[in-house]
């Protein structure tokens, strides 16, 4: 198959964090979390959204920062890809709103639906758009979630994340992507009411406000089928990614992964055979989990603190639902 041009890199990254940071001890007490659960999470502070911190507000501000970092005008953007699990409105195109607000007059728009792994797929889709076309050169990928509090297995933060992908950009070049799924066990978590299977009616029982308290989890599926394979899957996708890109695991200089509980990174690194590799762990306790774009927050901090150098190979992991995802990036 013909690739028009395989070189796509990250020209800029931008982030928005709400002003208020909250000590997770206060949430532990309010939610009556057991000590061992709290310790397992390993998160000290998270970002709390104010009334002004709507998904749109956070996405816009992150996008402005990303364009600045890329030294790019919004008119140079050919495509805006938005990945948000729940936006200001349900089934509404924030990408169109962003196009208008940023004055990205030449941009087409696309939304990718889903959870954390959907952000990974947004990035891969964006890279494919550049590689597979002659007229898409710059893509803005945006995420902004309005989360706050404890959401198993960690604490959740609100914020916006944006990256600008550019054809022939020499920095943070994407060398490859790989995903492994267990779609067989896809029904391990879902919201029962509100779809066409069990539509809302006059007798619907809905817990609290919002989605979180209405997610039904099939613990049996998780413990019997997903947990036993959980960290092996990271080894599997790493091996495949290395094979596809012609690299060896020993060449990897840095690892980033989405922010989960305290021992998450250690277990991944042990599974892939790099127990001592730097992985941005020092940043995570003061961030919490935002979305699938956590990896880019950590990558940006590592870049700014000089923890990575030009030429370094970075292995990035995301897990969302029953999809394990890895990308290999060269700084």
């Amino acid at each position: 198959m013909e690739n028009t041009n395989g070189n796509v890199g990250i020209a800029g990254m931008g982030f928005y964090f709400p002003e208020e940071k909250v000590d997770t001890h206060t949430i532990k007490e309010e939610a009556n979390l057991e000590d061992w659960i709290y310790e397992n999470a390993g998160i000290n502070t998270i970002y709390k959204p104010s009334d002004i911190d709507r998904n749109t507000h956070m996405a816009y501000n992150a996008s402005v920062e990303a364009l600045k970092d890329a030294n790019m005008d919004a008119s140079e953007i050919d495509l805006i890809v938005v990945c948000v699990f729940r936006n200001d409105y349900w089934h509404w195109q924030m990408s169109t709103w962003l196009k208008d607000k940023l004055k990205a007059v030449n941009a087409d728009t696309l939304e990718v639906c889903g959870g954390c792994s959907a952000h990974f797929f947004s990035v891969e889709t964006a890279v494919d758009q550049i590689r597979g076309s002659d007229d898409i050169n710059n893509v803005l990928v945006v995420c902004s979630e309005r989360f706050f509090g404890y959401g198993w297995p960690t604490f959740l933060s609100s914020g916006g994340q944006a990256i600008v992908l550019k054809r022939n950009c020499p920095q943070f070049r994407y060398l490859g992507f790989y995903t492994s799924n267990l779609i067989r066990y896809h029904e391990n978590a879902y919201i029962k009411y509100g779809g066409t299977a069990f539509p809302f009616n006059e007798e619907t029982v809905w817990n609290g406000v919002g989605f979180q308290q209405n997610v039904e989890v099939n613990a049996d599926i998780y413990f019997e089928h997903i947990k036993p394979a959980f960290f092996d899957k990271f080894k599997e996708i790493t091996d495949k990614l290395m094979e596809n890109t012609g690299h060896n695991i020993s060449e990897v200089d840095y690892v980033v992964s989405i922010i989960q509980q305290k021992k998450f990174d250690k277990k991944i690194l042990e599974a892939i055979g790099l127990p001592d590799i730097p992985c941005g762990l020092e940043y995570k306790a003061e961030l919490g989990h935002f979305s699938g774009a956590d990896t880019y927050i950590v990558l940006d901090k590592a870049r700014k603190d000089g923890k990575i150098k030009k030429g370094d190979l970075i292995l990035s992991f995301t897990i969302g639902g029953i999809a394990w995802c890895a990308e290999l990036i060269e700084y």
Partner: protein
């Protein structure tokens, strides 16, 4: 773009809602419904799952192809699926016997109720640019009885149905010659679900009082779109022709995917083509299914000759305006 449509299929539930019944549901006269160009729509029976309808269309589109050879199932997430939090693309893959382990692309894309051509372009670029994707299926499935105001969305009457396209790179049949997209992005608050996002959360009262529906979010944005939609449709169609290196005299068929007869006719009349494929009368406004319906009608009609070209124009209750040219 050397992407071809290997096959296209649609599925419509048997049950129909007539113009009379639509008028009663909407509290307007039958004449008003007919004036908008709708004689009837298809409606799914109670208990039908979104993904089950999608599976019917996908199975017909893939025919004898081994479902495990499909590298990507791209579902257009316009409507509401079986559950609020379970990716429909994955459910469909399971149900058709597709790959459910290891590497498989299950994508849930969204471009409002008028974004199918843009998603065809997205998938086309993935076929060209991603060595791990050689065969893609795009599917959509819409059931509006539970999530609409009596099937009204602004000027439109929403019909149910499902559709699927199978795409590969380099095929000889049904080649996509061009795609043109336009966004009236200043009208970015036209449609969506007011409840269920983070601005207006769902609680028990919202769940019990039929407020979780697809609706017009801002009337001014809707009116603004209505003022410009015909012109935008014509402009986008012209653009598609130009990109294909064609003029309207090269076109044998026009497909119009729209929501209102007057607007549809205004757009089509600009191109002087007498072979018009327009599903509005018998199916209502089909949203993301409209383009698939028109493609299916074109590629599956044996009276359409090899080499014939269709200009497809799509306008919706949406800021997106789209057009494409396909050669049989």
């Amino acid at each position: 773009m050397n992407i071809s449509i290997d096959s296209a299929a649609t599925f419509y539930p048997e049950s129909l809602i007539s113009a009379d019944e639509l008028a009663k549901m909407a509290g307007i006269s039958t004449e008003e419904v007919l004036k908008k160009g709708v004689n009837s729509i298809h409606a799914a029976e109670k208990g039908t799952l979104t993904t089950d309808m999608a599976v019917k269309a996908v199975n017909e589109a893939i025919g004898d192809i081994d479902p495990k050879s499909i590298d990507q199932l791209a579902f257009i997430s316009e409507g509401v699926s079986d559950y609020l939090y379970m990716d429909p693309s994955k459910n469909i893959l399971k149900k058709i016997g597709g790959r459910i382990e290891d590497l498989i692309y299950s994508s849930d894309y969204f471009r409002g109720n008028n974004g199918t051509v843009g998603i065809i372009r997205t998938v086309g670029n993935q076929l060209r640019g991603n060595p791990q994707i050689s065969r893609s299926v795009i599917a959509t499935s819409l059931i509006w009885s539970y999530h609409s105001d009596n099937r009204r969305l602004g000027d439109a009457f929403l019909g149910d149905g499902a559709g699927a396209l199978m795409l590969t790179e380099g095929g000889e049949r049904n080649k996509i010659l061009s795609i043109a997209l336009k966004s009236l992005s200043e009208y970015n608050m036209i449609s969506g679900f007011r409840y269920g996002g983070t601005l207006n959360e769902i609680d028990q009262e919202i769940a019990r009082t039929h407020k979780f529906i697809y609706e017009i979010l801002d009337k001014e944005h809707y009116n603004g779109m209505m003022e410009h939609i015909s012109e935008a449709g014509k402009e986008t169609a012209d653009n598609a022709l130009k990109k294909a290196g064609l003029t309207s005299s090269d076109i044998s068929y026009i497909g119009i995917c729209g929501f209102n007869k007057k607007i549809n006719d205004e757009i089509v009349s600009d191109f002087g083509c007498s072979n018009v494929i327009d599903p509005l009368s018998d199916r209502g406004y089909l949203g993301s299914l409209g383009v698939i319906d028109v493609i299916s009608s074109f590629v599956n009609d044996n009276t359409v000759r090899s080499g014939d070209k269709i200009l497809i124009i799509a306008v919706g209750i949406d800021a997106n305006v789209e057009a494409m040219v396909i050669e049989k």
